[in-house]
Amino acid sequence: MLVLTRKTGEGIVIGNDIIIKVFEIEGDRVKIGIEAPKATKVLRLELYEDISQENKKAIDVTRDAVDKLFELF
């Protein structure tokens, strides 16, 4: 992973159409502005990871488990 040090007001350009700017640094919180094409997904990493994990758990569901659920009634 590329690691860069930036100050408030500075930024990073990724490719042709993504700009990331550091707006504010306060304690351990950084306010970041992101300019990206609307088609580009911009997600908080923890949300992305949470949903990814949930999708991977869904793969582990067996057809038997679904059958058993419907046996309940």
Binding site: I51, E54, A58, V61, V66, L69
Partner: protein
């Protein structure tokens, strides 16, 4: 198994965490029309149980931007087929539905993507009352 190409659903970005698989087929689960399986064409081991969220949550209104829908060439929300991923915790029989990240399909072009909606009321692991939903449905048909 050979799959007719007109059955294949192509994900523009991929299901989150499973971006390496882009092509899926939607298969029925024998004995029920509530659960279907999204199975990766190149890896049949990768199959996610999905359901029509409106079956359980008739007022489900995920906020998906016009731009996101247009990526799938969906011009109005009514054209979209909406599915949500189900997870069953082993042993406990707890079943949850992911209302936070629905899978949106353009049924005509067979294009799809998983979007994260900004509705704060929708959870990644919303408990599903399967039993209740089914008995209610029976009542309706009585």
């Amino acid at each position: 198994m050979t799959i007719a190409s007109d059955k294949i659903i192509t994900f523009t970005n991929g299901i989150l965490g499973l971006e390496q698989y882009k092509k899926y087929v939607l298969l029925d689960h024998p004995g029920t029309d509530i659960v279907k399986w999204l199975e990766a064409v190149d890896e049949p081991e990768v199959a996610l149980p999905v359901t029509n969220p409106y079956h359980f949550f008739p007022n489900y209104t995920p906020n998906i931007s016009r731009e996101n829908l247009l990526q799938l060439h969906i011009k109005s929300p009514e054209e979209a087929l909406v599915l949500c991923v189900l997870t069953i915790r082993a042993r406990t029989k707890d079943i949850t539905i992911n209302l936070k990240a629905p899978i949106i399909i353009n049924p005509d072009l067979r294009l799809a993507d998983q979007f994260i909606v900004d509705n704060p009321e929708y959870n990644i692991r919303e408990p599903l009352q399967l039993k209740k939903a089914c008995s209610d449905r029976r009542c309706e048909s009585c």
